[in-house]
Amino acid sequence: MSPLSAAVETRSLGCRYGRFWALRDCSLSVPAGSVTALVGPNGAGKTTLLHLLVGLCAPSAGDARVLGWAPREHPLLVLPRVGFVAQDHPLYRGFRLSEMLTLGRRLNTRWDDALARERLQRLGLPLDRRVAALSGGEQAQVALTLALAKRPELLVLDEPAASLDPLARREFLGSLMEAVADGGLTVVLSSHILADLERVCDHLVLLRSGGVQLSGPIEEIVAAHRVLTGPRTDPASVARMHSVIQQRHSERQTTLLVRANSHVYDACWQVGEVDLEEIVLAYLGLGMPAAPVRREVAS
């Protein structure tokens, strides 16, 4: 068998609660070995998508393949190879850390107890400490430890750093990156803190209620987007060549954020680069870079 090129693959995946579609028509592919950020506004279905990947939800439409298998139909083929940290990293509050490790050992076929103990020791968390006595950042680290001790091929994290203060967030993402550096791990994480994503992730999936809006390697996404500034005009001529993501007009000036399908040759536009955060915000319809031109690029 050839090595899997995609750790996660979904086709027209949808999930419905009663008459309400929490996720609709989601088709995406997460390459093995990537660290993929899942971003989108509240209610876009990020959590639902992640729950579908670990079998917590059943698809109402389409299908999902995780490490080659449908997670809901074949939980025992998927779950042992997937580490999952749910939103707010739930842990049994009355348990001691040693008991959390016992839980992991007893409920998993693949479990690296030494790895878990070593990680907790490195974090300075004694095994007889109770979960309830830990700070939010420490609890998130314990949840990540439990997920990593499964020696997963895929790690799925739902807003792992959302509830943490900046310092704890930095430490959490640091230990996540260490784990990724050890190799062989694909990560899918959702976050609304865009600054984190650029540090940690190499792929991006942008989800809106209509489905996947943008998906691919972050480098390519950044390279493909440009800010055009020029005298006030109708952007129709640009739209023929490139997709205009967002436009803003002032009295004399028009600013466009475009996904350039080729080089922008038109001499009347000043062409500038944008960073990932600005691209994501533009797709979410949340404003336009205030000072669009960072650097001139030769076209």
Partner: protein, 316 residues
Amino acid sequence: MIWLTWRQQRTETLIAVALLVALAAVLIPTGLHVASVYDQARIGSCLAQDTAGCPDALGAFENRFEGLLGLVTWFTLLPGILAILIAAPFAIELEQGTFRLAWTQSITRRRWLTTKLVLIAAGALLAALIMSLLLTWWRTPFDQLGNRFDTGFESEGIVPLGYTVFAAALVIALGAVLRRTAPAIGLALIGFIVARVVIGGFLRPHYLAPLSATWSGDPATTGPDLRTAWLIRQDLSDAHGNAVHNLPSIADACGSDLAAKFGDASCLAQHGVFNHAIYHPASRFWLFQGIEAAIFLGLALALGAFAVWWIRDRVS
């Protein structure tokens, strides 16, 4: 999974055990005391054969323990409390979202559900069994005295097992739907009491059609044994059990005062007035226990099946 369930239930299980120990600490000494008084006052032989002094002895025995008996009647709420203790960790797991941690380890949701529900049901049954054995033993002397249906039915035998499992299933089903422990427990307690009142108060007399007996008021005739029976109604009737039309005039003729339950029985009998009773005989006690336990266990199974369906399809 068994280890995890036990670890999650540990605190509540220990509280339930402490409750049962406290119950035993109350019931065993008082029960021994009641039994010794029962023997010393020769209540047993009085019940077998009415001799001089027996009515006084019986009255004294009943008066002496009336308060204690009233107190122990409250223990009929214990199944609800034991069930809440045993089922609460399940509701807490759904409220706090830790089920997502459990379900994404390498186990199936089915195994999680099966292990938890089987262990909770077993725990509830065991706790109820211990409670019922204690109470049934404690009440033995009182059950000889009279109608066991009235005060003993809900704390003796097998119905406490049905009550406990039902209350636990109610906490689990409500906990699954509401995903909040406190409202689930509150509603379960209300539902438990309503079910007990409705089924015990309105359904239980109709598990079987009551027997009807008509017998002459002549002191030489003996009617059915009503002392230990569950009496639904007793009045005066004609030979066929129908109401007597001219009862007031007959009573006047016999010099009886029916309101004061005073009457010349043989005079009334001569005028064709009979005793009439509608009742469940004492021999039906265990049959009724079986029917009521089956009703509550059936409700518990239905609630359990509903909770399983809800959790498998709707909780994520």
